[in-house]
Structures are given as C-alpha cells and as structure tokens.
C-alpha cells in the first residue's frame, strides 16, 4: 500500500487513464497550463498536449455542452466546473441534453461524460462557493452521481467514471484534496477500480447505522469513535455512490441496528437525506425501532462570517446529537 492524497489520487487516475485511452480529453477553466485551482490536473497538458487538455474561456454553458457533443461523437470528455456552484451555468446542457439524449434518441447514442464538481462548505468562501447540489442530479433520470472521499475510492471510482458510457457527475469535496489514505501500489495501483453502486462499511457497529457520504462520512467516523467511548456502537456506511445507491448494504445494516441517522452536508431541505430516509421507510419500515433522523446543513445561504458559517456546517457534534436522539426513542 502507498499513502497518497485525494489530489494525487485524481491526478494519477487521469494520467493513467489518458495514457491508455486516447479519446479522453479534459476541459475547463485554467486546468491546462495552471493545472486547475486545486492542482488536480497538473502536468496533464505537458503529457497529453493542448488538443486533449483544453483551457477554456469562462463559458460554462457552452464548454459543458461541448463535453456532451464530444461525448456523442466519439470522445470521453471530462469537464470541470471550477466550483460546483457554477454547474448552474451548465445546467441546461446537462439536464436537457446529457441526461436525456440517449433516451430521447431511442438508445442510439452514448454520452460518456464526466463532470467534475468541487463542492462543500468551509473556508469562508460564502454563498456562491459553498453549495452542494448532488440532490438536483439525483432527481434527474439519466445521470450517475458519485461523491467518494477516501483517496482509494476517489482514484478507483474516477477510473470507473472514465470507462462508463453514461454522464457521471463526480462530486469532490473541495476541502478533501489534502486528505491522505492508502491506495494499492505495484501492479494493482494502475489496475484497480471502485464500482458504482457499492457502499463501504467504514466501521462496524450494533446500535445505530449512520449513513453518510463525502465529508460527512469522515465526520461520521470521528463521531462514531467518540460515541464508542460512551458505550454506543455505531455502524458507519460511506455511500460513495449516490446514484446508483447501495440500498442493500444500508438495509442489511438497519436490519441489525434497527436505527438510522442519514447525513448530508448540503442544507437539509430537498436533499439526499430525505430521499434516502423515504426509501428506507419504503423498503423496511418494520425494521425501524425509532424514527430515522436526518443531519444536514441549515437552510440558509452559506454566510461569510466564520461563526455564522460554523453554525451551518453539520459537524461531528450534530451527528452525535442525532445518534443520541434515535437512541432516546428506545
């Protein structure tokens, strides 16, 4: 095993896949010469040239759409929107073209497109740089939506995304790029992949199931470690992939714990957590000994002030409070 950062995991995934697949191209603002604002695409232009690593003008609607058009005509484009907040600018081409062309055309086209969307709160970048829109894409039939957080999963799932024949919205937590973790080394380093639709159990437990993804999976692990000291045993599930979503793993865990907390960093209203709770109720209401509890951000535009911003972020304490709440319903 080697220890690398999420940043390195993404960079390695691109370098390795672009080497073996000449149809992969990457487009976005400042991603070529500069290597992107977070350094994710560093050196790709040097390795693979300006035709395949394209510094675009600040024209999200058209370069996101160009990714769709290129995907329909033989390439595997990766399109980066610098902050996921600005995916709104490319929304028409994503929702009305990328997600629907295959279906509208009766299956006569593939759209193998990866959209990289750095999301999440923190760092005082306020209302237009802190949002998490994964629920919007979960709502639209035709996308796959993923949000891995561990370097192992980030690299392996980016490879899966680059080989998939559907539009994939790849959410990267923008405060995760420095997170370190183990990835395979040697021959397996370049060959392993992580599949869509398979969650990971980060910690086994018996009292409460905590379902989380992206940064919330990291926080859930920390919360579970603290709760362990208080004698509460939590099973932590990192969904990794949101659409498709591994309900089998979720329901198997709930069958054991009979209690569930579902976490998202996005503000709570209209989010993934509500949708997941509804599905859990549909699939296994009788398994539950207490009403499910959701943890999420507050329904406000993210404020700039550190104190106010902290109020909005669902941290370990909020997860612990939620676990105690489902347990108090014993």
């Amino acid at each position: 095993m080697a220890i690398i950062t999420v940043r390195q995991a993404l960079n390695d995934a691109f370098k390795e896949e672009m080497k073996i697949d000449p149809t992969i191209i990457i487009m976005g603002c400042d991603i070529g010469v500069r290597g992107g604002p977070f350094g994710i695409t560093l050196d790709l232009m040097k390795l693979y040239g300006k035709d395949r690593v394209i510094d675009t003008p600040i024209s999200e609607p058209a370069f996101v759409g160009a990714g769709v058009g290129a995907a329909a005509t033989g390439l595997r484009p990766v399109v980066e929107v610098l902050y996921s907040d600005w995916i709104t600018l490319g929304m028409d081409q994503l929702v009305n073209m990328a997600a629907k062309m295959r279906y509208m055309f009766g299956g006569k086209v593939n759209i193998p497109l990866v959209v990289r969307a750095p999301f999440g709160m923190g760092g005082g970048i306020a209302a237009q740089h802190s949002q998490s829109f994964e629920a919007w894409f979960n709502h639209v039939p035709g996308f796959k939506v993923v949000a891995p957080i561990e370097p192992h999963d980030v690299k392996g799932m980016m490879k899966t995304a680059l080989r998939d024949n559907n539009p994939v919205i790849f959410f990267e937590h923008k405060r995760s790029y420095g997170i370190k973790g183990e990835v395979p080394d040697g021959a397996e380093s370049e060959s392993y992949t992580v599949p869509f639709g398979k969650a990971a159990i980060r910690r086994e437990g018996t009292d409460v199931t905590i379902v989380a993804y992206s940064m919330m999976a990291i926080r859930a692990k920390l919360a579970a470690a603290e709760l362990e000291k208080e004698g509460i045993s939590c099973e932590v599930i990192d969904l990794i992939s949101l659409l498709p979503l591994d309900y089998e793993t979720v329901m198997n865990s709930i069958a054991k714990t009979n209690r569930v907390v579902v976490c998202q960093e996005a503000n709570l209203r209209g989010g993934m957590a509500g949708d997941i709770v509804a599905e859990i109720i549909d699939r296994g209401f009788d398994l539950l000994d207490a009403p499910p509890v959701r943890v999420g951000g507050l329904n406000v535009p993210t404020p700039y002030n550190k104190g106010l911003e902290d109020l909005c972020i669902p941290d370990e304490k909020k997860i612990k409070d939620a676990v105690c709440a489902v347990l108090n319903n014993r």
């Binding site: 675009t56 759409g65 160009a66 769709v68 295959r102 509208m104 559907n166």
Partner: protein, 349 residues
C-alpha cells in the same frame, strides 16, 4: 399587388435574393436528387400537418415547409460521415441527412419501429448513425453540441465537419456567442448556419436585435460571415461547400446566414393571427421548390413530365411511410419504458 410590387416587397425582406444558378461541377443527377429530397421534405411536413390536425400524430410538430433549400443545399454539400445538429424544426434536416422516412413517420406516430423507438417524437428526432445529432426542443442548445462534435473531429483527426443549423431565435442565446467564440479561437471544423426566417414564434428579429444582418456578427469573432438567399438551394450548397472545404483545411468556422422568410406558422396549428398573413403569403412566389422547378424548365434541363415524376415519387414515398407507420408498426411495450436511460442495458429505478 402587381408582380413587380410583390418582388420589391420580397427583396426588401431578403435583399440577397439571387437567381438559381447551379455550380458548374454539380451533375444533373445530383440536382435532381436535391430537388426530389426537397419534395420529400415538403410532402412529409405537409402530411404531418394533416395527420396532426386529424389527431393521428401526438404532441407538437414544427414544419420545415419553405426551408427545404437550406437543409438540402447544406447536407448535399457534406458527406454522410460529417455531423449536423438541428433545431425543434428538425424533420427537414433529418431527411436531408439521409434518414429513412418510414422510420421517421413511425417515430412521429410514437411507434416502437420509429427512429427513436417512440421516445423522441418530432422534437427529438435523431439518427446518430448518419451524423444527425438530434432535433432539440431548446432553442440554441445545438450550438455547444456542435462545438463538441467539432472538438471530436480535431482530436480524432477524422476530417469531419459539423454543421450547426439554428434559427434567428437561437442567435440570441448566450451559448450562441460562447460556442462560436470557442470554435473560432480553436479553429475548429464547424459551420454555423443561421436559418434566418425572421421570426421567433411571434417575435420579429428586428424587435430584439438592432443589427438584423446576423452574418455581420462574424466580424466580432474574427471569422468569415456570409449572407445568402435561403430560398435558393444552389446558393446554400455553394456557401456550405466552400465553408466545409475551408474547415477541413484547418481554416476554422464560418458563419452563414441563410436569409428567407417563415411563411407558415411556428408549429403546425399556429394560425399566425399575430402577423400580417397576406404579406407572409407573398413569399410563396419565391419558395424553393417552385423556383427549382422553374430553373429546370427554363433552362431546359428537364421536361415538365420529368419534374412531375420526381414530385410524384416524393408523394408516393411519404404515402408509403404513412401506410407503414399506421399499419405495419407496433406500440412500444410498457416493458421498454426504462430501456435506454443508461447504456449497456443498465436499469436504475
């Protein structure tokens, strides 16, 4: 109005109106084929209107009647391996690119045997196998798709060009500017072809753009812009041929404004109460099929009987396509509802 007054009125709306004059190397066989394809489009969309009125076609349908010279002139000047993007008014582009009219008519009838298995209908008709990247219900949304297709050609080095058909309405979308700017900056093999029929549903182009010679916008992008007679199949052919050669030789994109006039309504049941109907009707005088017919006869290239036979064969082709759609095709099974959302047979409920 006298004929002279009529022509003077038409010339005011279409200053670039030009006599039909075939390029020297265009064989009479190819000219006949172009004429027949225009007739097929005319008959297809005329019948679609009737069928829609009789409730035999569902949803919405937008007629390409009057615009035939643009789709046919343009698609005749490129290869089957080249790409086109279309608009909500896409039947003409699809036929001109070479789609099977039986499969198209079946699609408009919502049949499983349709070009898109009954899932797209008129507004999303597509045939990617022949380079037709789909009609789209969102005005201007073909622009980025064409940009992407041109990027593919450059990366894959396959020498393909992409024609992006769009209307004057599409020219006021943000992606119009963004896409042309990028295609120009990167010298991509794209042809942006404005079908300027001067109306966006009921909105005249002059209400929403100060400069209505839309080809002049090319100057701002550092590319060539031309305005041509959109009722003249040979002018369209020549302009696209030249632009395609330039694009294939690394000369970058061209902006072509094919100026004509929408004669019929925005969609098949639009009676155009908002517009001077008598003035609109005047443009039948210069519609493309009538003009090409006169060109064949006046230049003694074909006899009236020969021209009639071409028109008749188009009528028969469409009658056959309707018979096929209505008698030989099946309703899609409910089992197919979730098919083709995702690739490779994957289904996510």
């Amino acid at each position: 109005m006298t004929k002279q007054e009529t022509m003077s009125f038409i010339k005011k709306a279409i200053p670039c109106l030009t006599e039909l004059n075939a390029p020297a190397n265009l064989s009479i066989e190819k000219q006949k084929q172009m004429f027949r394809t225009m007739c097929v489009i005319r008959e297809f969309d005329s019948q679609v209107r009737t069928l829609w009125m009789k409730n035999e076609i569902y949803g919405l349908a937008h007629s390409y009647v009057g615009a035939e010279a643009i789709g046919v002139g343009a698609c005749s000047a490129i290869e089957k391996s080249d790409w086109i993007t279309s608009t909500h008014r896409g039947h003409g582009h699809t036929i001109a690119k070479g789609a099977n009219t039986r499969a198209m008519m079946a699609e408009l009838h919502g049949k499983f045997e349709g070009l898109n298995r009954g899932k797209g209908g008129s507004m999303h008709i597509a045939d990617v196998e022949i380079g037709m990247l789909g009609a789209t219900g969102i005005v201007g949304s073909g622009m980025p798709i064409a940009l992407g297709s041109a990027i593919s050609a450059k990366v894959l080095g396959n020498n393909a060009v992409t024609i992006c058909f769009h209307g004057d309405g599409g020219t006021n979308q943000g992606v119009w500017h963004e896409s042309i700017n990028m295609a120009a900056a990167w010298n991509l093999p794209a042809i942006f072809l404005i079908e300027n029929n001067q109306y966006a549903i009921a909105t005249e182009i002059s209400w929403v753009a100060k400069e209505t010679d839309l080809y002049k916008r090319a100057i701002g992008y550092g590319i060539e812009g031309v305005q041509i007679d959109g009722f003249n199949v040979f002018e369209v052919y020549k302009a696209v041929k030249k632009a395609a050669e330039k694009a294939r030789n690394g000369g970058g994109p061209t902006l072509i404004e094919a100026r004509f006039m929408r004669i019929l309504g925005h969609f098949v049941a639009d009676d155009q109460w908002y517009r001077n109907q008598e003035e609109a009707e005047l443009f039948w005088e210069v519609e493309p099929i009538k003009r090409m017919r006169e060109y064949f006869l006046n230049n003694k290239l074909l006899t009236a009987q020969e021209v009639d036979a071409l028109q008749q064969s188009a009528i028969e082709e469409i009658a056959d396509s309707i018979h096929y759609a209505q008698n030989e095709c099946t309703e899609p099974s409910p089992d197919t509802l979730y098919d083709d959302i995702y690739a490779n047979g994957e289904i996510i409920y």
